[in-house]
Symmetry: C2
Subunit: 176 residues, 2 copies
DNA sequence: GCCATATAATATGGTGCCTAATTTTCGTCA
DNA sequence: TGACGAAAATTAGGCACCATATTATATGGC
């Protein structure tokens, strides 16, 4: 398995080769990218699961780790990039496991303040350090130039992605 | 937003910078990678959703598109890289939407054969062509060397990922 | 023929994410 | 003061994934 691809991607790629309907080197490149980040995500999940945490929960704890007065679910949603409804679910789990507490809002009673418990505090600090070191380790041995090269190539994929979206048209939600 | 990062990653990165506990350029590189594939996955989901399909369902339909005798859920699970239980759910949706049919097995009555309906057949062909072209378009403008460079850099991340896993130890499932 | 065991598919229940409704509260305006 | 719209959190319902039962079928040993 020199070039790692997931099963599903491998099948698609082979078929594209067989039908030769698109540049298969490009497809391969895309799947290599997808397979790698898929693996990173999986490993990340495994690491976090050892502490009864998911990535979403970890981000919330991280967001709270230096906020003694807490943040509202609304703010957490904005900073974590998920909806408020999702935050509610994550908070339920974190509260059940004793990592956070919900406090009634003082000035605005619609808001609640989410704060880390002492247990949560400790977990957050340890985990953040561990996690950051792991993430950094993935690019161990890369020179400045190599990182720049990678970044530049990725930027170009971004642009192609945007271009494809523009071709699709802005009115995507047509219920047809 | 020149270097696109998701909210959550941006926050982690800034904190890592503040605490300087790990090489933040590496962390940034990792997050750029994650953000890009996150965007690709999202766009992919949007494209497929226009046809009432998810990525998982698309892969199943693709796997079936040249198998007139069908495949069993077991085989589909193996080739798609998900569990049989997941396949059951995906097939339920595909059957409800009229894309596939379940046929009782002939030789082994525990097995069932999943086949595409004519509607499913047509959908699968169209979609495969469209999807392959979209995926290929993401690397439009890349030279052979650029693709090689990218692939090589990605391979090195794979190796770092493996190394990190080895450091974590093989006995990861300890119920601690 | 009958039992133990293996295998196929599904059911159940959990997680994380979503969108859309719903409830509570706030602020404003008449 | 009361009505109304906006905002905060939650609930409800859906999807995709998982692990772990559960049920039906097959197979080998006796």
């Amino acid at each position: 398995m020199e070039k790692r691809l997931e099963q599903k991607h491998r099948a698609l790629l082979e078929e594209a080769e067989r039908q030769s309907i698109a540049p298969t080197d490009n497809i391969r490149a895309c799947f290599e990218l997808l397979a790698l980040t898929g693996a990173i995500d999986r490993d990340c999940a495994v690491r976090l699961a050892r502490h009864r945490l998911s990535e979403g929960k970890f981000v919330l704890m991280f967001l709270l780790h230096d906020k003694p007065d807490g943040l509202s679910p609304h703010e957490l949603a904005a900073r974590a990039g998920v909806t408020r409804a999702t935050i509610t679910g994550l908070l339920d789990g974190l509260e059940r496991d004793g990592f956070i507490a919900r406090r009634a809002g003082l000035d605005d009673r619609r808001k609640i303040a989410v704060i880390l418990t002492p247990v949560g505090q400790e977990m957050a600090s340890d985990l953040f350090r561990e996690h950051a070191q792991w993430v950094a380790s993935l690019f161990e041995g890369f020179t400045v130039n190599e990182r720049k090269t990678l970044s530049g190539l990725l930027q170009r994929v971004w642009r192609n992605l945007d271009a494809a979206n523009r071709r699709l048209g802005p009115d995507v939600d047509g219920s047809g």
